[in-house]
């Protein structure tokens, strides 16, 4: 049984005079000790997907369809009170910017103790001991001193370590990391990813890593889901995605990772802009930017096709008729 099973998730956001269909039929599953990377550019719906699962959507946002099963329990219809028991203890989250995700007027120690106070019935003394222990676990030196400090007294990297300590305080089953390194210096990014990886081994949690940077995925994740225009366009193991990628968007993403050994200095890009999700296209959302697009791509959504045991791709190129057409064309030439 999967730890987390999301099927056909739809999320909409109301704006001033329209509705943004931010997530449109997302399905994936997470096994214990998995690290799933959800990759996509801004606005692809990756962050909304996890916020929808944790019921942390903004007021305007709403899960309109789909099913979420966590650890055998259907949590789709969970109310705020029920969800509070899970959030922070079973599922916890690391946010993008540690400069803004910690309360500026509360010491970091208190911010860790708070989550222990809420979920574990511990004495204040034990809470404090555990908080200090967590601080040293995430690699903060002189944790007793840091315990009493305010966030602004710590560097960005240290703050993100504090956020991780808070997230791990109750040994969660799933750790959601929403672009955990985007706001940090490049040198710190690697450290934080390394830390997450080593902590995962220690406390055996599953991780959902949200990122727009396919480059960081290979080192840490074992599964990858590529999102575009509110849909998962391709998913599979790290090897499936990096060596066997089928979807033109995934191929474009891989091509745009800068490589040290290449002679060419121009970065490869995917021309065009993402689709407008207020009025989503009838066909494949990527079709307008796709250089392999066919007529069908603009008209109908491709089905999410199984390519191998772990690998799926939603692309018309996978259709048998597309392959025939390609062969015919080759014959012509």
């Amino acid at each position: 049984m999967s730890l987390l099973e999301v099927s056909n998730l739809h999320i909409s956001l109301r704006t001033q005079d329209s509705v943004v269909k931010a997530v449109r039929g997302v399905s994936f599953s997470l096994e214990p000790k998995d690290t799933l990377a959800i990759v996509g550019e801004s606005g692809s719906g990756k962050s909304m997907t996890v916020k929808g699962i944790m019921k942390l959507l903004p007021k305007a946002g709403r899960v309109t369809d789909g099913k979420i099963v966590f650890d055998g329990t259907d949590i789709t219809q969970f109310g705020e009170r029920q969800m509070r028991k899970l959030n922070g203890s079973e599922i916890s989250m690391i946010f993008q910017d540690p400069m803004t995700s910690l309360n500026p007027t509360m010491t970091v120690g208190k911010q860790i103790m708070e989550v222990l106070h809420e979920h574990k019935k511990m004495s204040a003394q034990n809470q404090k001991a555990r908080a200090v222990e967590l601080l040293s676990l995430v690699g903060i030196s002189s944790p007793e001193k840091r315990f009493g400090q305010y966030p602004h007294q710590l560097s960005g990297g240290m703050r993100q370590r504090v956020v991780i300590a808070i997230a791990l305080a109750c040994d969660p089953k799933i750790l959601v990391a929403d672009e955990p390194t985007t706001a940090l210096d490049v040198t710190i990014q690697a450290q934080i990813l390394e830390l997450m990886k080593s902590l995962q081994d220690k406390i055996s949690t599953s991780i959902i890593l949200i990122t727009h940077n396919l480059g960081v995925v290979a080192n840490i994740a074992n599964k990858v889901a590529v999102m575009y225009g509110g849909e998962i366009v391709e998913s599979g193991t790290v090897d499936d995605i990096f060596y066997e990628a089928q979807h033109p968007y995934t191929l474009g993403l891989i091509a745009s990772i800068p490589k040290i050994h290449e002679e060419s200095v121009t970065l490869k890009t995917i021309p065009g802009t993402p689709p407008d999700l207020i009025d989503p296209p009838a066909g494949c959302p990527f079709a307008p930017r796709c250089d392999k697009a066919m007529k069908i791509c603009h008209l109908r959504q491709p089905e999410n096709k199984q390519i191998s045991g772990t690998h799926r791709s939603a692309c018309w190129l996978q259709h048998s008729m597309a392959k025939q057409a390609a062969e015919k064309e080759e014959h012509h030439e």
Partner: protein, 307 residues
């Protein structure tokens, strides 16, 4: 659509051109259009604007609608309640209250608008000189402002009112002398903020001249702050005038302003409360409408202050 037959033709290439790829599907609105659109959506602000226009029209046309004027006394008809003859009644000298109220409104608005305009001119000049020159000039100008900010405005106004002969001009001057500081600080802060904004740096990198930067970037972006602040200075000037007249050092009878009218209405509140109520309602309406309109403008035109 879902059931259409899949034909070979559907699988022939159909790539989009570069133009189509970069197409932005929703229409673009400029900052001003966007703000205007937002303001029109704000029903409260639109209603406030409408009521204000009506009040301004009455302030100028109201006295013409009656055969009475604001100063002629009639001891045969004192303290009359509102009637078909005297729509707002008469006061202790038998003067027609309808004429007095609208004449008073006109005087109050006039004082407020002129005072706010003077505030604006002095404040914007002072603030922008301070911000644009910077360095030592800015430092000296700011020290002066810091001292002035330490003095409650009303104290300055009261002192000046006592030294100068009572009258409309004196009121305006007294309010302007104390009022420009706030505008100067706002404008300076706004320009300093803009000077360091990325888009100004970008313009600088693109070799835009100083003149161009001031004209294209600094002025359009400070206009919002200036207009919004003025929308708040006008009601505060109306308040100050009314307050001074109410405590007896503003305008004096037989002249009329909203403050004078409220003061004389308050004297007879026990016996003839309508005299106070009518002028109080007018001043409250003006203040409320300006306040709502000011808020609406701020929400519509100042994206940074939008909630």
């Amino acid at each position: 659509m879902q059931n259409t037959e899949l034909t070979d033709d559907l699988f022939s290439p159909a790539r989009s051109g570069a133009v189509e790829r970069e197409k932005i599907s929703r229409p673009m609105r400029s900052g001003f259009q966007d703000g205007w659109f937002r303001l029109k959506q704000n029903k409260g602000a639109v209603a406030a604007l409408a009521i204000l226009l009506v009040l301004v029209a009455l302030a100028f046309l109201g006295p013409l609608l009656t055969k009475y004027d604001y100063y002629t006394t009639n001891y045969g008809a004192i303290f009359q309640s509102p009637s078909a003859e005297h729509w707002f009644g008469t006061d202790k000298f038998g003067r027609d209250q309808w004429a007095r109220v609208w004449y008073g409104t006109r005087i109050s608005l006039l004082i407020a608008v002129v005072a706010a305009t003077l505030d604006l001119l002095v404040g914007v000049t002072y603030g922008s000189i301070s911000a644009l020159l910077g360095g030592r000039t800015d430092a000296v100008m700011q020290r002066i402002v810091e001292v002035l900010v330490g003095i409650p405005n009303l104290i300055i106004v009261i002192l000046l009112m006592m030294v100068m002969p009572a009258g409309i001009g004196t009121l305006i001057i007294a309010m302007s002398i104390s009022g420009w500081v706030n505008m100067a600080r706002l404008v300076r802060a706004e320009i300093l903020k803009l000077k360091n904004h990325e888009f100004v740096l970008a313009a600088r990198l693109l070799d835009a001249s100083n003149g161009q930067i001031i004209l294209r970037h600094l002025i359009p972006n400070t206009v919002g702050v200036i207009v919004i602040n003025t929308m708040f200075t006008i009601p505060s000037a109306i308040f100050t005038e009314a307050f001074l007249s109410f405590i007896g050092i503003g305008l004096q009878e037989p002249k009329a302003s909203l403050g004078v009218l409220i003061n004389s209405g308050f004297q007879v509140i026990n016996s003839h409360p309508y005299l106070l109520f009518i002028s109080a309602i007018v001043i409250v309406l003006i203040m409320v409408c300006f306040s709502i309109l000011g808020d609406g403008l701020r929400d519509a035109f100042d994206p940074q202050m939008r909630v």
